[in-house]
Amino acid sequence: MVNVEDLRKEAQRILREGKVKYVIGYEKDQNGLLPKPAFIEEPEDVARLIWNPTCVHNLTKFLVDEKKRKALEKKPDNRPVGIVVKGCDSRAIVVLLQEKYIEREDVHILGMSCERNGVIDEKKLAKKLKGQNAENVEIDEDGNFVVTSANKTIKFQAEELLAERCLECPANYPVIYDLLLGEKAKKKAAEPFKSLGKMESLSEEERWAFWTEQLSKCIRCYACRSACPMCYCDECVVDTINFAVTADTTASEKAGKIKWVEKSPVPSENFVYHMVRAMHLAGRCIDCGECERVCPLDIPLRFLNKKLEKEAKELFGYDAGFDPNKPSLVSSFKDEDPEDFIR
């Protein structure tokens, strides 16, 4: 069983030895169930770090933030940052390494195994507790989830509360790490891509109606894009103005920038935004589920990315985020790649 003290000890060591600038981890939120992202700079503060099934966030987005911040500094501190990651999060780091967005020396990875389990789904928990708030969730030696709510503890089978993606997870332990806590044990996942079954059984008209209804709700807050570590472009397809502007950018270049998507949150534009984003993530998404978790209107975004993940697997035998030395799917080809579109 993972002992959070081991995590704190290692975090303290690398901070004390000056090996990292700061450690990104999870800390308790006094006013909510989910933890807050923590940025620990002082060795004395490592007691703030926690580890339990409420640690749902994918913290690797902050590695992207760190890189963008360094790019603006005149004399950046080039030491790595420490980061606490789960299996899925570590695969996001692998993708960033494959794409050469960050270097291996930029991160000191503190890997945490989910120990055959995973993280909770807040909504499932809320339903079980019938509206009562939960204060904490811990995992016991038998792999059950122990929920603290209104000063009582309630035990649940993990499957009752696990996030959908955890039920389909191919490897719930980090695939890349400087330290690994917990077993490298692969739990028996449900049939991979099982959650797509219902969607795939719908007809084209039914699917169109489903997505029209869902994407009409979208308010284009871009939380899905903001939470995704793989959405690191300086200038996104939805941006109507140029971000990458320098003193040499001419007025004509700025005037010529094509507006691919209007700002209006109407179904046609929302479709384009979400479909393009899903395509740009094909072969890159590692199903951390953040996009769906952060959506304030509960749009089931995971379906889009999961479908493309399945296509990547079926068409090209590709699994995202396992091997940092492998070229990324969309920037490489093999002779045996299917060519049935060539007529």
Partner: protein
């Protein structure tokens, strides 16, 4: 019936003058409303120009309110809307709504010496108040203009500046030496130090690139000008022009509504977020 200020009035471009060519092109446009609508403005105010299909851009009205036949705008080609404007021809139709913003408190300046300090395109927002003062010359003391640009090719209103020299003191400058240039060589703020205008009973109005304004104010203060005697105009990204969309908000102000004209005494107390 409340007036819907978001609806632009249609206006025809009646004259286009190329002031500066090349990458930092500047053109001066004169426009006439298709229909009489009682539009009148004060010096310092701006209007939202519409290129239908491209968008809007807030531009200061550089013609003086004394001019009744047209509105004049000098526009630097910078992005989508201004590029579209630069491609227009005489006779093309644009939309104009406004006037928006506050104006130079020119009534309070009667009897004083007025010193206008402009850099590059910054002469355009000054042009209105400068010509209003010239049109009522007897109400004011001495009128002086300091104006400079990067090179002689970047100077706007070249012809008008020549004529101006007959009516007021004009000190021109360019940043770097050029073969036929007879006047001052150096940045505008340094030209101010060179000519040492007196702070006594004077008001200065400065407009230009932020860095020029910064050093101009410093040098004016060194010459004894008080913060209440120094005026400038502020630029910020704007969309609605009426203090509602939030874009140009700085501190307690919306630049489109409470500005763009500020005295340094007021502006130094606002967050430096523009």
């Amino acid at each position: 019936m409340d007036h819907n200020t978001y609806i632009p009035k249609l206006a025809k471009i009646i004259d286009i003058k190329e002031e500066v060519n090349g990458a930092r092109a500047i053109k001066t446009f004169r426009t006439q409303f298709l229909e009489d609508n009682g539009f009148s403005h004060q010096s310092g105010q701006c209007a939202m120009l519409s290129v239908f299909g491209k968008g809007e851009s807030m531009i200061s009205i550089s013609s003086s309110p004394l001019v009744k036949d047209y509105l004049q705008f000098s526009i630097l080609k910078m992005g989508r809307v201004t590029s579209a404007l630069h491609e227009m021809q005489v006779g093309d139709i644009i939309g104009i709504r406004g006037p928006y913003g506050n104006s130079f408190p020119i009534e309070k300046w009667k009897g004083k010496n007025l010193i206008f300090i402009g850099g590059g395109i910054g002469l355009a927002p000054l042009w209105s108040v400068l010509n209003t003062a010239l049109g009522n010359k007897k109400d004011f003391g001495n009128l002086t203009l300091f104006y400079g640009a990067r090179t002689s090719k970047d100077i706007v209103f070249k012809q008008e500046l020549e004529e101006l020299k007959n009516q007021m003191t004009v000190h021109l400058s360019i940043d770097v030496e050029e073969p036929d240039w007879q006047e001052y060589v150096g940045f505008v703020p340094l030209n101010i130090l060179d000519k040492k205008p007196s702070a006594k009973n004077a008001i200065t109005i400065t407009c230009g690139p932020p860095i020029m304004i910064k050093f101009a104010i410093q040098n004016l203060q060194a010459l004894g000008f008080k913060d209440e005697q120094i005026f400038t105009t502020v630029e910020n990204k704007m969309k609605c022009g009426i203090g509602k969309c939030g874009r140009c908000n700085i501190g307690l102000h919306y630049v489109c509504k409470d500005g763009p004209v500020y005295s340094w005494a007021e502006l130094k107390n606002l967050p430096q977020e523009y």
